[in-house]
Point group: C2
Chain length 463, copies 2
């Protein structure tokens, strides 16, 4: 290249950059000064793969409006459109904490600032101002861009015309999406490392057996079952009753076992997962406890905390759409962890059964993961409140924290297998037990603590 040519090239590039910059600034100004609802859709990363409500895409306009109303109601119920007097007092105190937090932040007292931000958030978890300021602190001071973006997103959901929230998200959304994608690639690597271990490897076989019991123990534990891991194992190995436990608690364990055997013997190999399969899964999950409701859609309205699932009359249609989505090209092109987590969320959102929705959804998720070469993922019962919190966030419009949580659990489960099959360990580690387990807990405390911190939603997704 001659010097002249390269100068020309450079000038040309500068001109292009200038033009692009001007256009961007203009567009930003134009958009920031308007409240048009399509703004968000056009400017923020269009994460189609994380759309949770595409089952409504082919509804008629009337149907769509009916659903929108239904959803808006359940969202506004949980978000809280108006504030009570007690809430007003809380908000006033939160604003005080927030001001103080920012002063501390300016003064370089980061620890004090963090505690004050957290206090403000606890007092007014739905206040855009708190979400924005805390998010900015997390983004710039704590390097936790994922959690920051989540708070900006939340602020924008609550107040769609908030220009600050929008500007912040423009800065963070793409970065976070890239981080999320990179995260999934690292999961694939661990999965491939696990796949490379021969089926006959005795350590792997032992790990699988151990994980089988842990999986059941945690999945029923999340729903309130009080059996310890050792008792769960005893129930499955001896089929004898455990003194002091309810018969239902025994039957919940037997149900998970029956369902897992069905997945291993049938669903993992099937090309399509049909409604019939989901009903058969549920029949096994709930059948021991309730032979009448096992394998049947509910016939009544139910209420799940702040969430009001669809009425019984809509279940058949919604489940048909869910089945179509499950076997669509679109969903099959997703990363397996996204696909599995979304399937879990959608099913538990529709809540088609009287009971056993959570267990069936987790089993469906694990079926999809197993079909993609992943082990069945354990969601630890100690993470119960986080798990429900992320499901609630998904109901409010942001599915990503839930997907990240599932990714965390997937990684943790993969680590469990890889650690068990490495040359180092003498014994397979157990996830932390309930307090009542005494001795075992102390032994596992360090592992449990490691687990807890690794599961932290904000830090977990940050590579």
């Amino acid at each position: 290249q001659s010097p002249k040519e390269s100068t020309l090239h450079l000038t040309y590039r500068f001109a292009l950059f200038f033009l692009a910059g001007s256009l961007a600034a203009f567009a930003y100004h134009a958009l920031a000064s308007t409240n048009s609802p399509w703004r968000q859709l056009h400017r923020l990363p269009a994460a189609h793969y994380l759309q949770t409500r595409d089952e409504f895409a082919v509804y008629s306009v009337d149907e769509l409006n009916a659903f929108k109303e239904f959803y808006d109601k359940s969202v506004s119920d949980s978000v809280g459109a108006s504030f009570s007097e007690a809430e007003q007092t809380n908000i006033k105190e939160a604003m005080g904490s927030l001001r103080l937090a920012q002063e501390m932040y300016m003064a370089g007292k980061d620890d004090k600032a963090l505690r004050l931000f957290e206090h403000a958030l606890a007092l007014a978890p739905k206040h855009p101002e708190v979400l924005l300021r805390y998010g900015e602190f997390l983004e710039h001071n704590q390097r936790n861009i994922v959690l920051a973006d989540q708070y900006y997103f939340q602020a924008l959901s609550i107040s769609p015309s908030n220009t600050e929230a929008f500007a912040n998200r423009q800065r963070t959304a793409d970065v976070v999406q890239t981080l999320d994608e990179r995260r999934l690639l690292s999961l694939d690597e661990k999965r491939d490392a696990l796949s490379a271990i021969h089926e006959a490897n005795s350590a792997l076989r032992r790990a699988k057996k151990e994980a089988y019991f842990q999986h059941i123990y945690h999945s029923v534990g999340i729903e309130g079952n009080t059996m310890t891991l050792a008792q769960t194992r005893s129930v499955l190995e001896t089929r004898m009753a455990v003194d002091g436990k309810s018969i239902d608690e025994h039957n919940e364990i037997l149900g998970m076992d029956l369902a897992m055997k069905y997945i291993n013997a049938s669903l993992v190999q099937k090309l399509e997962i049909t409604l019939k399969d989901i009903l058969e899964l549920h029949r096994r999950v709930l059948g021991h406890v309730d032979p009448i409701e096992g394998g049947e859609f509910r016939r009544n309205q139910v209420y799940v905390g702040g969430h009001v699932p669809p009425g019984p009359g809509d279940l058949a249609l919604l489940m048909q759409r869910f089945e179509r989505w499950l076997n669509s090209e679109q969903s099959n092109s997703l990363h397996p962890v996204n696909y599995a987590a979304l399937a879990h969320y959608k099913l538990v959102h529709i809540h088609p059964f009287v009971d056993g929705n959570g267990r069936t959804s987790r089993l469906l998720m694990n079926t999809l993961l197993m079909r993609a070469g992943y082990p069945p993922v354990i969601i630890p019962k100690q993470q119960r409140s986080k798990y429900y919190h992320f499901l609630k966030l998904a109901n409010e419009g942001d599915i990503r924290p839930f997907v990240r949580f599932i990714a965390d659990c997937t990684e943790k489960t993969l680590d469990l297998y890889l650690w068990a099959t490495s040359d180092l360990p003498q014994q397979i580690p157990m996830l932390i037990q309930a307090e009542s387990d005494g001795g075992e807990v102390a032994k596992l405390q360090s592992y449990g603590a490691f687990y807890e911190s690794a599961m932290d939603p904000g830090l977990g997704a940050d590579p």
Copy 2:
């Protein structure tokens, strides 16, 4: 009336009697000297109401032959067409005992004779000679015409051309039928006495509650469940596990409870009992233990001791015919105890389920009894071997001992209620418990012994 007229009348009567007597003697001689198979049908009481195999009445000839072959095989299997060497030795010894028994009988040593007859029967239970001689002893010496007739019937089934057996049955069959009918009338009287007690009577309510637990305790106990009555009660009242028992044993109890609630809430009022009802009943009986098989017909051949139930391919047709019979005018015109016992036998004979056939059949029987104003009948677990023995006799062609056994249980259950609601008792009696129950057993021994003797098949039907 003038003396002349009455003399004429008398002469006329004598002539008629003479003619009838001659005809009878002639007919008897003609029939006794031939082996024609219709002989039995024409001369013995045609107890249509106790036909167990009328479900084949509308089959094609080919179908009928196929079934006949199938039945003949299962009957000859259990009756034993040919004898092994060991059996030959037994028969030789039995013949010795039989000769000795008859010598003792002639010598007036009845007790010794009885023991020797029983010894002979134990050695050669299918030998016509033993059955006939023992039957005659029972008929003439022990005044047990019912059991005598049963043995003659059995001898005739094994050897249809046996003229002695035929002659004996001609003497006993009608008498026994009359006794059986009289027995049922006395049950109706007790039922009416029970119906006269007001629903709100507190003793009756307590008796019903107690009987509810006993009914479940005995019905699962017959199938091998080891829970005591107190444990059964605790399982139902607390829904907590009993230490040292299998989870299945708990679930068997929960299943009976669920099925009983279904009967009380739905089946007792229904005009027709359909196949769907029977499947729903079974779903509840077995569902807790086996959510997959509960409410489903079996898909495999099964074997029940000497009995080979129909193949899975024939179940749909046989069950349809059973349903038709259940709701036919013919069956509805039977005495409720005959109807209920027959329904029980037919269902357990078809054996449509992998497991829970006995419990479902007993519940169906009790549904039919309850619709006729009877309480649900308890078949005590201590009577298990008798119960199975009578079912086996029914398979071999004589349903009457089974029906009598059900009549005994019905009477016993009625007595339980009547005794509990009379002015005398302070406490509701319990049926005898398993040996492991210790203290309770001693307390109830006398009642249990009374129960045992009252349940004796031969004596029970003898008024």
